[in-house]
């Protein structure tokens, strides 16, 4: 159910007051290039040592980016631990190797598996952290502007991203209303699998019907305001790439090329 959803709290930016830290002022395109460069690096190497170093560098950069990113890092730590620790152990147990570390019944754990499991776990954590940093430091509306103004994505589709994000609280509220309505009408909490399935079916049909109505209303309102009537549109706010962001992109690309060449 949508009720009470808590999607990585603190990730999504809506408050510009919080966004005055560090490199937050950098253009989203520069941040995207940084994420891509890090992704290329972590996907290139497969040893625990190099992956560990990249992970530590990302953490250090994240911690130096100001209070907001540090707060997001703190909130993310539990997600990371819950996800990464089982992933590491499962990989370690499953992966084959030739140098045994210990044997427990039919289970043999090897040094090669340890190295590779650690490398893959660091890789996943780095991919997660870089994306999270991007989210923590970027406003969704800047991403939409970047898609239309720099990446030349047709605005009808770029704005669908804003639309999707806008629908999240609306549908969450809608789900809460449906649940309350069901309670007011005297529906008892379901017991057993069959009643749970029926309750879920009733809830999802109501949610679907209301969502389609909302969808039709939104589409009509957008059409009335001339959304998509012209191939191009004007913008109340332009978001050009600053010289600082251009230099930053150059540095990221050069550093990535150097690492790929050197190591």
């Amino acid at each position: 159910m949508l009720v009470g959803i808590d999607i990585y709290p603190g990730f999504l930016h809506t408050d510009t007051q919080k966004m005055n830290d560090g490199v937050v002022l950098m253009h989203p395109l520069a941040k995207l290039i940084a994420v891509l460069c890090t992704t290329i690096l972590v996907l290139t190497y497969s040893t625990a040592m190099i992956q560990g170093v990249i992970f530590l560098v990302v953490v250090a950069i994240g911690l130096s980016l100001g209070k907001h990113v540090r707060r997001v890092f703190g909130k993310m730590a539990r997600y990371l631990l819950v996800f990464a620790i089982p992933f590491f152990f499962i990989q370690w147990i499953w992966l084959p190797g030739s140098t045994p570390w210990f044997t427990w019944g039919p289970l043999q754990v090897t040094y090669e598996a340890l190295n590779y499991a650690a490398a893959i776990t660091f890789r996943l954590m780095t991919l997660f952290l870089t994306s999270a940093m991007f989210m923590a430091m970027t406003e969704p509306r800047d991403v939409v502007l970047m898609l239309t103004q720099q990446l030349r994505v047709p605005y009808r589709f770029a704005y669908a991203v804003s639309l999707a994000l806008r629908f999240l609280p609306i549908l969450s509220e809608e789900a809460e209303t449906i649940r309350t309505t069901h309670q007011i009408r005297g529906m008892k909490p379901p017991r057993g699998v069959r009643e749970h399935v029926q309750a879920w079916k009733r809830f999802s049909i109501a949610l679907f019907t209301n969502s389609v109505r909302r969808m039709q209303m939104t589409a009509s309102a957008m059409d009335t305001k001339g959304f998509g009537a012209y191939p191009d549109r004007t913008y109340w706010r332009e978001n050009p790439v600053s010289i600082f962001s251009c230099v930053a992109m150059g540095v990221y690309l050069a550093a990535t090329a150097f690492c790929l060449y050197r190591f």
């Binding site: 089982p86 499991a117 991403v143 047709p154 589709f157 669908a160 991203v161 999240l168 957008m222």
Partner: protein, 195 residues
């Protein structure tokens, strides 16, 4: 001759809104699925997690089943990846985007093969089946499955394909038909084709 702009104009505003809603629903679903995924990883390793792979692809296939226009899967999957990136998932931006591209390519190719005209259970199951292998190759490189060994990789791929057939192909058809029966999708191609 149609220009790229006129091709994109083929999508009505309500179709774009539907794609956005499905992308948003997928992002929410992915957050819930990440805990299920963790549980399955702990329970049965990489093969157990493969059982729910089909659910990750359902939004794009469902959009294609309802809208039935070329490019629907591509736009919906890319929207899904962007929204997922902005809301957060456990796999990072690169995995979201690459997975979306792989799924979109497979779904569009199969639909093109059937000229966007045939939408029976067999076609939908074929779409679900074909959407799996390409991303599996990329995921194997990205998440280190390549070192598992051939038997585990083969079992995981088979389980994923079955999951794709049932949880993506078949379920999309069931959900789409149930939605069409309510009569609320009359403005979409699925509603027009049902007449």
């Amino acid at each position: 001759m149609s220009t790229p702009t006129t091709k994109l104009q083929r999508f009505t505003t309500i179709e774009i809104v539907l794609m956005a809603i499905l992308a948003m629903a997928n992002a929410v679903l992915t957050v819930f699925l990440s805990s299920v995924n963790q549980f399955l990883t702990t329970l049965g390793g990489p093969i157990a997690t493969s059982t729910i792979v089909g659910i990750y692809m359902i939004y794009g296939v469902l959009a294609m089943y309802i809208i039935r226009k070329p490019g629907t899967a591509f736009i919906t999957f890319m929207l899904g990846a962007t929204v997922q990136t902005l809301l957060g998932n456990s796999y990072g931006m690169a995995a979201s985007v690459v997975a979306a591209l792989c799924y979109a390519l497979a779904v569009e190719l199969i639909c093109m093969l059937f000229r966007y005209r045939r939408w029976n259970v067999g076609v939908m199951m074929t779409i679900g089946f074909c959407a799996v292998p390409l991303w599996f190759i990329f995921a194997a490189n990205m998440f280190g499955y390549l070192k598992w060994g051939l038997p585990q990789l083969t079992i995981a791929l088979i389980v994923r394909c079955i999951s794709g057939i049932i949880l993506c192909g078949w379920l999309s058809k069931m959900i789409g038909d149930a939605m069409a029966r309510t009569g609320l999708l009359r403005t979409f191609n699925i509603g027009r084709d049902a007449k």
